[in-house]
Amino acid sequence: MIPLSWYLIFAAALFSIGLYGVFARKNAVGILMGIELMLNAININLVAFWRYLNPTDMAGQVFALMVFAVSASEVAVGLALVISIYRRRKTIAADEVHELKW
């Protein structure tokens, strides 16, 4: 059986890739995608911990399902915002949308 640490390393790698995407991408859609990657990395952790540490309890799977639902709605809102910004300003570069400041 594949040891737990592999799953954890994989999840950490996936999280880091997502985090990098969130910080480094200019494209707002790319940022959203990075967020999705990070959320999925967490899901992997949840499911892995459930399977290896406490398989009788359903809490890990329920958490993962909850995160799916939340991330789906978050992407829906996020994409709607991005489209709305694009329609107004013909750009989806995150560093060009910086009016909300002092």
Partner: protein, 719 residues
């Protein structure tokens, strides 16, 4: 009912009337005068009952009098009492006060034009100017009703209360209360037409001049109370021991005894009230008031009060030895005022000076010890002088009628030289005025004034006061002369102006009081005919007044022997004066000057200007007082010292306030507040730069903080 109850009640109706009118009925003229006249009527009735009861008592005054007193004001060991007392003197005074007050009240209804329309341009505080009335196709002007009609009746009601109080009171304190109430009413009534500056000035002058006398009188009252412990008349004056003690106690002033000093103080009070020299100046000016006021205050009642008080306190004055001062002042005033009256043209002013002169007669009579003669003259004078004043008011009213008819308001309706021939226009006024004038002159036998004046002269002669006798005889001659001058100028001859031609007899409410008073001016003398007078002496009431009034004193004064010489002098001066007056003034033409002006020369203008007394007092007292109040009190004391202190305090407070502001408030309190505010603001300015608006930088910051926090948690807080 007990007679004392009646005495208690006698002064009250006019007071009640005063309050009723002032508080409730002052908008209703008819109701107001009904209340006032009704109150005067009740008081009159009570006075007559009391008088009747008094003359019915055998030896009234000697053994007992009507008296009653209650404790009023506790002071120290004893208490001031308020009480009433009727002895022969006050009974007689009550008699004439009751009659004259009632007559004057009734007269006032007509005088203030009750029943006439409201004036077109009348203002409260000014005499009525007349109202235009349409009569078919033409308008003419008629007299208009006094704008402050009800107020007048309220004031004279209060005045009557003061006089009644003064007469019935049994002690000096309540007498003084009545005295002062009258002083106040005199002020209010002289200044009744307060819209006229002259009336305002006259009111102030009267009030302040009498005030000088009143202050001295109060001193006398206080001293008397300190010395004897009581102010009751009977307790002091009917007690030889008290009088003896007072006469021998040294007062420490001018070598006078206590009785002498008290007597002087009281006499000075009387000088002010009865307008004797040198405080006589207020009375002529007081003629600014409405004529009923002149009659009431300045002839019949208030000025009599001074003489009444002196008569009342006579035994004390006698014990104190101040009678020569009375004789001197009285005789001087009598002749001095009589000379001024010679050169006055205002019909009321002549009467004013004659009042001063006649009061001088009374005071002089007291000064020579002629107690009963003074009281007798007081009574007869009250009647005939009230009659003369009311008559002059009627004349003025008639002349005002003429002025309204012609519309020429430059004609002074009070100037006798504008009159003449009024005898046919105003017959009732003429005959009553003639009776009053003859009584004043002392027309022999038929007038009251003759008997009382003769009594004074006879007394002066009998007691060997030749100087007083001759002074008074000359004054009587002058009196007859100026009275006849007045009658001749006013009523006889031909009208000198169109206004006099159109004069008109006054209303019945004015003429009836004149007629009633005229009856007394004629008949009242009969009560005082000396017993041994030839033919008439034993006829009616032989020596009644002497017998009756003598009971007031402890020792019944002896009746004087009858002598022919003073009687002849008295008849001679009266008839001589009247004849001279008629001869000199019977043919004065319109616009002609006074026939006396040429022969008297500068003396005439001296008399016309009243010996320049007003100017002298103005120079001696009024202007120094003004200077003092302006320069010292106002500029130095008030502006300099009091304001100076205030300004200094203000400047110090201002400086102190500035110090606090600059040294404490601004640097410390404000500085701290500002520091907090500005530093917060500065920090905010600097710190807001982290808010870039780039969502990824926020994310980075959040990530870093989370990472550092996690790191810190894991590696430092965990054991």
């Amino acid at each position: 009912m007990e007679i004392t109850t009646l005495i208690w009640l006698a002064p009250l109706p006019p007071l009640l009337a005063f309050f009723l009118i002032i508080l409730f009925t002052n908008r209703n003229n008819r109701l107001s005068h009904t209340i006032a006249v009704g109150a005067a009527g009740i008081s009159w009735l009570l006075s007559m009952l009391i008088f009747w009861a008094a003359i019915g008592q055998p030896h009234f005054g000697e053994e007992h009098v009507f008296e009653s007193a209650i404790s009023w004001l506790p002071v120290g060991a004893g208490s001031f009492e308020i009480g009433v007392m009727i002895d022969p003197l006050s009974a007689l005074t009550l008699f004439f006060v009751g009659w004259t007050v009632l007559m004057i009240f009734i007269y006032s209804i007509g005088y203030h034009n009750f029943g006439q329309p409201k004036g077109d341009h009348d203002h409260a505080g000014l005499p009525p100017h007349g109202a235009a009335v349409k009569h078919g196709d033409h308008t003419h002007t008629v007299p208009s009703i006094e704008p402050m009609y009800a107020r007048f009746f309220a004031f004279i009601g209060l005045f009557a209360f003061g006089m009644y109080t003064l007469v019935v009171s049994d002690n000096l304190l309540t007498l003084f209360v009545g005295w002062e109430i009258m002083g106040l009413c005199s002020y209010l009534l002289i200044g009744f037409w307060y819209g006229k500056e002259s009336a305002r000035d006259a009111a102030k002058k009267a009030f302040m001049t009498t005030r000088i006398g009143d202050v001295f009188m109060l001193l006398g009252v206080a001293y008397l109370y300190t010395a004897t412990g009581t102010l009751n008349f009977r307790a002091i004056l009917h007690n030889e021991a008290v009088l003896e003690t007072l006469a021998h106690a040294d007062s420490g002033f001018f070598g006078l005894s206590a009785a002498g000093l008290i007597g002087m103080f009281l006499f000075i009070g009387a000088i002010g009230k009865s307008a004797q020299f040198p405080l006589h100046v207020w009375l002529p000016d007081a003629m600014e008031g409405p004529t009923p006021v002149s009659a009431m205050i300045h002839a019949a009642t208030m000025v009599s009060a001074g003489v009444y008080m002196v008569i009342r306190m006579f035994p004390l004055l006698e014990a104190g030895g101040v009678l020569p001062a009375l004789a001197f002042i009285g005789a001087l005033t009598a002749i001095f005022a009589a000379t001024i009256a010679l050169a006055q043209n205002d019909v009321k002013r002549v009467l004013a000076y004659s009042t001063i002169s006649q009061l001088g007669f009374m005071v002089a009579a007291l000064g020579i010890g002629a107690y009963i003669a003074a009281a007798f003259h007081l009574v007869t004078h009250a009647f005939f002088k009230a009659l003369l004043f009311l008559g002059s008011g009627s004349v003025i009213h008639g002349m005002e009628h003429g002025v309204l008819h012609t519309g020429d308001h430059d004609v002074d309706p009070q100037d006798m030289f504008n009159m003449g021939g009024l005898r046919k226009k105003m017959p009732k006024t003429f005959w009553t005025f003639l009776i009053g004038g003859f009584a004043l002159s002392g027309f022999p036998l038929v007038t009251a004034g003759f008997w009382s004046k003769d009594e004074i002269l006879a007394d002066a002669w009998a007691h060997h006061h030749e100087t007083v006798f001759w002074t008074l005889a000359v004054a009587a001659l002058l009196t007859a002369f100026y009275t006849m001058r007045q009658i001749t100028l006013t009523f006889l001859g031909k009208p000198r102006t169109k206004e006099a031609e159109h004069a008109h007899e006054s209303a019945n409410t004015m003429t009836w009081p004149l007629i009633i008073l005229a009856v007394f001016a004629l008949g009242l003398g009969w009560i005082g005919i000396p017993e041994h007078f030839p033919v008439l002496g034993g006829l009616l009431l032989p020596g009644w007044l002497h017998e009756f009034l003598g009971g007031t004193l402890l020792h019944h004064p002896a009746a004087i022997e009858f002598e022919m010489f003073p009687l002849l002098v008295s008849i001679g001066v009266a008839l001589g004066g009247l004849t001279l007056g008629w001869l000199v003034y019977r043919n004065v033409k319109a616009g002609a000057p006074d026939p006396l002006r040429r022969p008297l020369g500068p003396i005439y203008s001296l008399l016309q200007n009243k010996y320049y007394f007003d100017e002298l007092y103005d120079f001696l007292f009024v202007r120094p007082a003004m200077w003092f109040s302006e320069q010292f009190t106002y500029l130095f004391l008030d502006r300099g010292i009091i304001d100076g202190i205030l300004h200094m305090a203000a400047r110090f407070s201002y400086w102190l306030g500035g110090f606090f502001r600059n040294a404490i408030d601004k640097p410390i309190v404000n500085g701290f507040g500002d520091l907090v505010g500005f530093s917060t603001s500065d920090f905010g300015h600097w710190f807001r730069r982290i808010q870039t608006g780039r969502v990824q930088q926020y994310m980075l910051a959040a990530g870093l903080v989370t990472f550092i926090g996690l790191f810190f948690y894991l590696f430092t807080l965990q054991p």
